[in-house]
Amino acid sequence: MKTKKVAFLGVFLALALILSYVESLIPFYFGIPGVKLGLTNLIVVVMLYLCGTKEAFAISMLRIMLSGFLFGNMFSILYSAAGGLLSFLVMYALKRTHKLKVISISVAGGVSHNIGQLIVAAFVVETYNIFYYMPVLIFAGALTGFLIGILGQEFIFRFQKVFREHEMSEERD
């Protein structure tokens, strides 16, 4: 059982890393370093539902560290970590309310990811003028979060059974 879980988490981490890599290949630039599509949020959202909070958090943080070392630099780790942490906290808090579906969780994650990065950017650049980007970033985060939410929802519906069979899921409902 336990080894199975380790293997599962390893696969997810690999998946998240691949998505980071795919994302780094797509030239999608908002004008602020580190602000990206957030494809890896798909993995975090799915794991939050299928595996559990601790596991999702661990994978999210490990992914940020590893992809930072592989495809980025210290700054991109800082940006990603800020975005990742904030979006994780927001998604976790919203999921606990049990009032929202995957799609809303994902939208909230996308938006808060961008906000987290913007806050770090504001500290680094030491100017508050970049908060002018806020509306654009909220819209962008909402859009990507929306798409990833749809994808994640389908993923969760289809893999729920598999995860339950292997007793991976924390929640049984």
Partner: protein, 128 residues
């Protein structure tokens, strides 16, 4: 877990986020509309001069040795007070004081635009 993909809550939630973004957009729009520090006059696309808005003054704009327009700065606002062009449209435009606001005198190709003068502007806004 039910197989429902959307709920009423989701529509409200996502709508709310978009609403907040719109609010931010308006906020940014108004913030960018802040008081300017200087007024820059250009004639035929070339910079003629930059003048402090905090200083009451009359600026005669001379083109080819003739005074064609007079820009008057009073109480932090700039207004075209005289023009030799036939329609005097620029004189009827309201006084400008906010960043990016302009007065244009088309016949003479005179443009007065309010600008924030870089660092100085930031210092001013902190000191205020």
């Amino acid at each position: 877990m039910s197989k429902k993909r959307f709920g009423k809550n989701d529509i409200l939630f996502i709508g709310g986020i978009l609403g907040i973004a719109l609010l931010f957009m308006l906020l940014v729009f108004f913030l960018q509309n802040k008081e300017g520090a200087c007024v820059e006059v250009t004639v035929d696309g070339k910079v003629y001069g930059t003048y402090d808005l905090n200083e009451n003054q009359e600026i005669p704009i001379t083109i080819d040795g003739e005074v064609t327009n007079v820009l008057t700065i009073k109480d932090g606002k700039a207004k075209m007070t005289d023009a030799d062009c036939p329609d005097h449209l620029c004189m009827h435009q309201k006084a400008i004081s906010k960043e990016k606001e302009t007065i244009v005198c088309l016949p003479n190709k005179v443009v007065a635009e309010v600008t924030g003068s870089k660092e100085k502007q930031e210092f001013d806004s902190i000191a205020r």
